[in-house]
């Protein structure tokens, strides 16, 4: 991916990036997911969350120090927000950052962190004052080998297995104050800006999963014979294929609509959530139909549809569950 220049997409050219638009980012995320969902997860966490956080909110020094290695694919990035007690309710994080001289001292733990095992750099959100909720956040860059930080890979994941998902523990982990992005108490706002933009890429990833499942279904339906003809000649299968084709296309259009608005500097948050909500449902339902068309063959590993069926589900959960997307959409609709 780095050789193709994909790791630098959306990152300023001054730091080894290749610039680019949200539409291009969506195209890349979809196509990567179509080939390997786990790899696209690595890509989105690394590029759209970690590198983009530094690109958007880091200082000139941060950008020069971290982005060239990240755009070259030599330094993997991770984004550490979620905690055991703070998933959808991100403002409830309990990892604390206490100022001590020229350092912050981190204590607490993170969970479900993509790429952390391989990460050379982690973006960590911590609370300066838990009583302040979302207004107490600070965003820090933590180097991968920092003493006091322990990373454990989590096992038993249903899908996207090429990507690591990890627990991260902080035990008096000292991070220089110079590693702070933005001002103290403003980390939540920075985080939401990054998450809003990356949501378009996650929606595009869901389209890629759906597209892959749809293509597998069409291919199989044309070759599998039953009752003296291919199953693609049966109306029941034809209708399933028509629904899949239509829904995948509709999901892709919603994604491109959100990306186009983002690129135009117009409000896009509602549209990004609509794209994420719809595309993730289409991914799950298309993978389900594709497996149904395969019958028993699709239920066994290693079949592509069996993997896609497991991969699809995460798109309804991470980077804002479908319930959170509905909250964002309704909040926007009702305040219009």
């Amino acid at each position: 991916m780095a050789e193709l220049g994909l790791s630098g997409l959306g990152i300023d050219e001054a730091y080894g990036g290749s610039g680019g638009t949200a539409r291009q980012g969506a195209i890349v995320a979809e196509e990567l997911a179509r080939g390997c969902t786990g790899t696209s997860t690595i890509y989105v966490a690394h590029q759209s969350l970690a590198a983009q956080f530094i690109n958007m909110h880091g200082t000139e020094e941060h950008k020069q120090r971290y982005l060239p290695g990240m755009t070259a694919g030599q330094t993997i990035g991770a984004f550490a927000l979620t905690e055991p007690g703070a998933g959808s309710d991100a403002a409830g994080i309990r990892t604390t950052a206490k100022r001590d001289g020229d350092d912050y001292v981190l204590n607490g733990s993170k969970v479900f962190i993509t790429n952390a095992t391989e990460a050379g750099v982690l973006i960590v959100l911590a609370s300066l004052d838990r009583n302040l909720g979302s207004r107490g956040f600070v965003a820090l860059i933590v180097d991968g080998e920092t003493p006091g930080m322990t990373i454990n890979a989590m096992h038993g994941k249903m899908g996207i297995r090429a990507s690591s998902t990890c627990e991260v523990f902080f035990d008096d982990c000292r991070v220089p104050v110079t590693n702070r992005m933005g001002e103290e108490y403003e980390g939540f706002r920075s985080t939401m800006e990054v998450l809003n933009a990356s949501r378009v890429g996650i929606a595009a990833q869901a389209v890629g999963v759906a597209q892959a499942a749809y293509e597998e279904a069409v291919k199989y339906a044309k070759q599998r014979e039953a009752f003296g003809k291919t199953i693609s000649e049966m109306q029941g299968i034809q209708w399933m294929i028509a629904d899949m084709a239509t829904e995948v296309e509709a999901a892709r259009l919603l994604v491109m609509q959100a990306a186009t608005l983002l690129d135009a500097g117009k409000p896009f948050v509602k549209e990004a959530s609509m794209a994420k909500l719809f595309a993730s449902r289409v991914a799950v339902e298309t993978a389900d139909r594709a497996l149904q068309i395969h019958g028993g063959v699709g239920y066994f590993s290693p079949s592509t549809v069996e993997r896609l069926y497991r991969d699809a589900k995460i798109t309804e959960i991470y980077e804002g569950t479908s319930e959170i997307q509905r909250m964002i959409i309704s909040r926007n609709v009702l305040s219009e």
Binding site: M1, A2, E31, L32, R34, G35, C36, I42, R307
Partner: protein
């Protein structure tokens, strides 16, 4: 009138053909990007996807 009737179908044909070929009205640059990444996914990612799903190892060769 006669001239119009000869030109119009050609124009319509061009517009329709372009709309179909430029899927989603992608720019030439976007279409090239899609083709490039699609080929990469088909040639490099997809053949290894099952093995990485099985092993759970970090796909360093995909990331490079």
């Amino acid at each position: 009138m006669e001239g119009d009737s000869r030109i119009a179908p050609t124009l319509i044909h061009e517009v329709v053909t372009k709309a179909v070929m430029d899927h989603l009205l992608l720019t030439d640059e976007e279409q090239l990007l899609r083709t490039t990444v699609r080929n990469f996914a088909d040639d490099v990612l997809a053949p290894r996807a099952s093995a990485y799903d099985e092993s759970g190892e970090f796909p360093a060769d995909n990331v490079e």
